[in-house]
Symmetry: D2
Subunit: 360 residues, 4 copies
Amino acid sequence: MGNTWGRAFRVTTWGESHGAAIGAVVDGCPPRLPLSEADIQPDLDRRAPGQSTLVTQRKESDTVKIMSGVFDGVTLGTPISLVIPNEDMRPGDYREVQEKYRPSHADYTYDAKYGVRDWRGGGRTSARETAGRVAAGAIARKLLATRWNVVVVAWVSKVGTLVADCDPERVTRDEVDLTPIRCPDLAVAERMIAAVEAARKDGDSLGGAVTCAVRGCPPGWGEPVFDRLEADLAKAVLSLPASKGFEIGSGFAGTDLRGSEHNDEFYMDADRVRTRTNRSGGTQGGITNGETIYFRVAFKPTATIMREQRTVSRDYEDTTITGRGRHDPCVLPRAVSMVEAMTTLVLADHALRHAAISGG
Amino acid sequence: MGNTWGRAFRVTTWGESHGAAIGAVVDGCPPRLPLSEADIQPDLDRRAPGQSTLVTQRKESDTVKIMSGVFDGVTLGTPISLVIPNEDMRPGDYREVQEKYRPSHADYTYDAKYGVRDWRGGGRTSARETAGRVAAGAIARKLLATRWNVVVVAWVSKVGTLVADCDPERVTRDEVDLTPIRCPDLAVAERMIAAVEAARKDGDSLGGAVTCAVRGCPPGWGEPVFDRLEADLAKAVLSLPASKGFEIGSGFAGTDLRGSEHNDEFYMDADRVRTRTNRSGGTQGGITNGETIYFRVAFKPTATIMREQRTVSRDYEDTTITGRGRHDPCVLPRAVSMVEAMTTLVLADHALRHAAISGG
Amino acid sequence: MGNTWGRAFRVTTWGESHGAAIGAVVDGCPPRLPLSEADIQPDLDRRAPGQSTLVTQRKESDTVKIMSGVFDGVTLGTPISLVIPNEDMRPGDYREVQEKYRPSHADYTYDAKYGVRDWRGGGRTSARETAGRVAAGAIARKLLATRWNVVVVAWVSKVGTLVADCDPERVTRDEVDLTPIRCPDLAVAERMIAAVEAARKDGDSLGGAVTCAVRGCPPGWGEPVFDRLEADLAKAVLSLPASKGFEIGSGFAGTDLRGSEHNDEFYMDADRVRTRTNRSGGTQGGITNGETIYFRVAFKPTATIMREQRTVSRDYEDTTITGRGRHDPCVLPRAVSMVEAMTTLVLADHALRHAAISGG
Amino acid sequence: MGNTWGRAFRVTTWGESHGAAIGAVVDGCPPRLPLSEADIQPDLDRRAPGQSTLVTQRKESDTVKIMSGVFDGVTLGTPISLVIPNEDMRPGDYREVQEKYRPSHADYTYDAKYGVRDWRGGGRTSARETAGRVAAGAIARKLLATRWNVVVVAWVSKVGTLVADCDPERVTRDEVDLTPIRCPDLAVAERMIAAVEAARKDGDSLGGAVTCAVRGCPPGWGEPVFDRLEADLAKAVLSLPASKGFEIGSGFAGTDLRGSEHNDEFYMDADRVRTRTNRSGGTQGGITNGETIYFRVAFKPTATIMREQRTVSRDYEDTTITGRGRHDPCVLPRAVSMVEAMTTLVLADHALRHAAISGG
């Protein structure tokens, strides 16, 4: 269980890292949306491994095929099945993992939960699983853009101790993609790249943060109480591998302020209600207020490192393990598309849920 | 929509701040759990207003009544309906709110979403709504304690810029309740109290953070992919009024580290698999590993302040508004029980979901 | 679990027959629908016991109170909590039931499932539970009538072996309520009443059928595959106490025909697509076609009879039991409002689900 | 939406009749269940077209491939993705359907709902869609048999006006498969076969009924109120193409009886609680009582017939249409495996839901 996201725009993903394929089924996408593989592939390419020396060298073309739900170039309103074959499988790299639990990976917890696990490349816990999310997210992105002109853009805002400064009101995807580290603050980007290269040479890894902005949301999306928009966003990004934190608007730093400093005063901008500041981050009471939504996601340093570490075996003996195979010295550049995907899934779902009561 | 939490242990809350009552319905609680109002009332009392000068002076006894689902002192397996009458209602305090949108409140967004709102005390967006969650959470707490010996304890770890240092492995509820600020680091607690008093005198407000620890979870709770335990915890606490961030384990600070510094190595502690450090915060791959779960929640400074602020009216005119009525200069002491409640709801739900496949 | 109906228009019911109260929470009702207790009470009165000698003499005023979700006479879009206090409780009537399992009741199966049960009046398995559904259904009915001009009307079409002949295109609620048996075929109604009186005098009971018609549904409601409209209608009515069967359109009798006799040919009626016959019963492929929906529900004879029957005790001994207390010699007249309620819940849910993708 | 079944054992199906493939994703299957394609293929073969002259001559090998969720011969607890390629596609047969609505098919209602449809072979409304359900059902069947020794068997009990008489306590799958009509009453089976052949020669079609028995269910499965076991069974089978009715136990015929004739008296059979009769059909109050569950499903005569019928075009003109292509003169023999599949999905789901509260 747990492999389905959403109520009105629902996505179910499946697949192990070294099985035959991975995929996703999207149910609830409205009919008559123009859609083809060409709408999905670019997002997958941004997530794919092997794009630069900053990320894992696993070679996967990650070619998506739409198996159902699209006819004559438009969606039918029926489930859209997406399949991405697995290609560059080297299970031999993982023999040691069959017998030993990698520190800060999910090998042990899967065994604890299920009494069985696919040890080849982490199976279902591999970051590869997110390809299905990214493919589904591309459909949500198209729906949001086509019907509501909503733009979702994420970027790397922190690598190790290096922090970028970017304006959520302005960052574009083109700017993000200028460098392989996907940080649009180019001066900082250069230093981030050097830091990742250094970590890679050390057989070590780095963490960081991704910031995501959503521009163009109409007021009124989100549900009160348990399904507040920020609650669903938090869940969405904390469901990503290696994520450790979420903050929206002023976030943790905002707790330093007094209410008189923190509140977002309203004013009329022609006939539109606006706020003078946006410490709320685009929602109030869990519902969008029309301002830009922005939030930050923490990702821990990649758990796989090329060093010897102490651990225990499946037979409950103390032992050691040394990282092998291909890995990401820093997951951040690839996490950008994952964060965008989860964000679009949340928004598409809430847009349709809101339509159910508002007729729009 | 959005008023229901959980799949296996499900809670639906209802009620406006100044309506006849608020309440919750709990569906899925296993049968034969000993339960009475006496198990619930203490948690409600901790959440209630009027406990000290640090929080709102609204007088509510918050007396809960169990309307169904319990017979001869034990649960029946049928829905448990909880009702808490509203008592100290002064809607007159809120007349101005009927016409004007309070900054950083949900008045505007509710109007944007629904075209109507109960302006008396914030209606459904009032922190009062959380009384239903706390009542339901007390049942989850009892279930977790009775069946699995799981302990959930939260405390105030930050008020304004004051930060406490407490050990998630050891903090007890008794220690938390030693001071009205609910911070078990007593030296810091004293300064926090002074800071809140100062803010109150200024008609201003403070934010801060709550840290929560869960001790005694067996390995194996949580679901892969979208319903990771930390994802549900993040959603749970971000659904609380005024929350702005969530971080588990090493959180945002952990992104400064390299993988070799961050990984939690495994070792055998007699016949139990343990980790030498706990930067993961008790879960790996979204599934509990048997270590203590701990996470931190950011709460913004209370939006209601006793000062004039600029805003707009319901008729879309620029205007000003000044806080009136009773309010919390700092929501943190009361947020402790809200965070605990949401945490117990998440855990009880995952415990039962895991039982569905494991028979336990 | 199992106490919630619907996805977009969601109803959760709670309460035992002889507890403090029963009730329902409605989540998802769109905002700004005019609503008060006066919209709900008439449907409850039609379901209530004690209306005539044909049904149980339990005296319950079944007075509903709206506890939340309505303000200034309109719905808020927040959960609507409905509470109906229990009044005429005589648990003493049920002492024998505490020790013995009544034949064809749920006493044994509840004990088997939960290991505990509220034996007072059947607890949660009492037909009294349906009062919460009827109250919620009245809100759905108002929504359907106000927004889409949809009319739902049900009637008793069979009692014992007596079968009425009524036209689903024309029957009105006024006609249904002309007699206490709620059969608008007045000649048959008279004989039905006599049959029920005879059964009552014998301490025995009768079953029968309710037919329900839905007029005015626009084409397009219902979902493909698992959530076909007729599938949800079937589930809805089979969830009612004592129901044993469901058939839509031509139903079981239609299986005697050949396709050439059974198919509903289309024709243009001005600018509207119509069918010449309506053996489909208003849906094709699970989606409404604009014709009248009609279906029939079988209800078994009431299990409670005033006669001695063989059974077993809670201690697994063979024994006998004799019906006591107040009971319905024929549940059919009261089942009419239950069937209508479940039908309106299904339709309101599908109407809102359809709106999510169609904007209407 | 509407393409997912179940809460604890969840199945999502996808695919159009003449698209690239159809398939299903099963989420919630417990880990460590031995499983391979060989467990699934036999059920698909029973559903497949082309088995005899009684059913459609479309040639589909319906070869299933497990894409995920199984490793080293056992389930992983992760989603099991099943893909069945489409092979014998002749969309040319359906050109007329592109422009005209077939009577008693879903062409019109899909256009009404979605404003677009895949007209090739009925797209998603084709009976071909049920192959995904049957594949998923085979996994549920294996789970039920392995863990609880539950046996599910269905058979054709009525074709046109010919009715078979079989004992739900005894019918075996081998007996069912003795004849291509799948009626274990061999004398009646012979006449049924002749009737279908006659209808086929006339270019016409027949309806009928399938009866299904479930033996070996422990007491306690099913949920009160809305999710009664019989309610879910009714929904499950009414979600099948061409189904028009459902009755459990005594069903519609039972409404002729008085309570004293209808009630199932309990008795002790050694240490087991049994009922002397089984008019309830294996459940009371929606929960299994340990007796055999049996129910009957009505299927209308196949809508596709080889005759000219009046209808309307997509441009809203009166016109005529004549059946072409391959079709089933009688869907009943193939419906047997569909009814079994939906029944196993219902039971597996309720078994796991019950385990969540009972630990078993």
